[in-house]
Symmetry: C2
Subunit: 263 residues, 2 copies
DNA sequence: CGCCAACTTGATGGCTGTCAAGTCAGGTGG
DNA sequence: CCACCTGACTTGACAGCCATCAAGTTGGCG
């Protein structure tokens, strides 16, 4: 298996998404959104400088979450929206009988915690899949600020709406797609999100286990493993444990759309 | 099959959710939220009288949507959030190959259209399953007003968050539950929502076809039909075409939780 | 070096989809 | 009023896909 170093391409690869310390030193010292290299992906999108400063003031707390630890748990009182500064999370819902459904995977620049707004208690668990860093945004102060800054309000509404649309996409996946379509959709989605963050579209390390992928996709871990093996035989991907290399993106897209041909 | 009349109980039944003209005459004339008997379920929840008046002003348009017609379609420019005043809708996402996934069923007092906020184009179709009446709420004016009325802002955020939590529930259903659990969950959900609207928890008319139920639950229509038949044999329900009578609510709840016993 | 979690691979079975035939209810026109 | 038609639904037989169970393999870590 190639080392992270071997994966380096002209762009950064997603196999190690902590930027080199050197180019990050300022941000390590200051919490400020204005210094955050994720501001184009995160809440500050489109804010003027003075508006961003006011958002900065809200985010007094930035915390590390170790791999395996929870950022919040279902039932816990809701207080913050969380912005992922670095790292990788999953959200899941546990049924009383032990079954659990992974409802999403979140990466740097994405927001967590919006499930808590409706009842003021969190409805799911958010667990770090690698050591991560997270900005705590006091929700009620965010609401107040978004009453004052129209752009912030609009953007926050768009983020929530995007989550709803994304969830509908997962419903389609779970309700209508076969194994291969689900896996292809999953890989293409990861690829696209890594690309948006300046990483390679084709090479990345999976942060989650086969079981977690399966839980998200409504499959058993063996089924995920078998699908990976089949895709490998068909030269669509090359996968070894967590290391994933997409060899034929168009091939994956065709699998997602293969039913179109009949229509 | 019993007529709608035969279903009348001390409470109104949901088999005919158009209130009698007499008790509704004022609201028929006036659009105003303050006169709407759904205000406890809809956006005005918790607003003071003067605030509600300001919300009233936004809702200049109220339209009828005939059974089978679309309120909006995927790809259409987003302009309004819609509040269902009476009737019943489904939302669905169409894949290019003809497969479609029903993402939800909406009834009086619920909001539609929030999928359009993120891109300013609607991401799904909303179709009336019976003749319905809908308030058109210009979204950008709603945003403006919610910058001025904190209660309205909070409530709108809660509505969006509730939609996210609901979607996660559907993911659990699609990803982890077997046929009988899905059907039981579906019936209990309908029952609970009819109850919240003052209708019978046990008797109602299904507004959707077996195929639409199946699409929502990730099943084929034959599977839905078989499950209904099995539930009927087990004296959990009595069903004839669209007419549904839940005979044993606790029994349905046990089916949803039967896996708990092992844990 | 050995342990353990994560993963792979094979054999088998059950659940749900598919295909097909028939029933039922409502609507239309004669 | 009845015959007919159509869409929605029910039921049965069968098949295929994915889950289950089981036995290894791999890689990381103490």
């Amino acid at each position: 298996m190639p080392s992270d170093k071997a994966l380096k391409t002209p762009r950064a690869t997603a196999t190690n998404n902590t930027p080199a310390p050197k180019e990050f030193s300022l941000a390590v010292i200051k919490t400020a959104c204005s210094n955050c290299n994720l501001r184009e992906l995160c809440l500050p999108l489109g804010l003027a400088d003075d508006e961003m400063e006011r958002l900065d003031e809200l985010i007094s707390v930035r915390k590390r979450v170790r791999r395996g630890d929870s950022l919040y748990r279902a039932g816990q009182a809701f207080e913050y929206i969380y912005a992922i500064r670095s790292g990788f999370f999953k959200t899941d819902v546990l049924l009383e009988d032990g079954r659990d459904q992974v409802t999403g995977f979140q990466m740097a620049g994405e927001l967590l915690g919006m499930d808590g707004i409706s009842t003021e208690f969190h409805a799911c668990n958010a667990v770090a899949l690698e050591d991560s860093e997270v900005c705590h945004i006091p929700f009620f102060r965010l609401e107040k600020l978004s009453r004052e800054i129209q752009t912030l309000q609009r953007h926050f509404h768009q983020v929530m709406s995007r989550e709803i649309v994304r969830d509908h996409g997962v419903m389609v996946l779970l309700g209508k797609m076969c194994v291969e379509e689900r896996i292809a959709a999953f890989l293409l989605n990861l690829s696209q999100r890594f690309t948006a963050r300046g990483f390679s579209p084709a090479e990345f390390n999976l942060r989650m286990t086969r079981e977690e992928i399966g839980s998200y996709l409504g499959l058993k871990l063996e089924t995920v493993s078998r699908a990976f093996s089949r895709f490998q035989e068909e030269k669509l991907i090359s996968v070894q444990q967590k290391y994933m290399h997409i060899l034929d993106i168009d091939g994956l897209k065709q699998i997602m759309n293969r039913h179109n041909q009949s229509a």
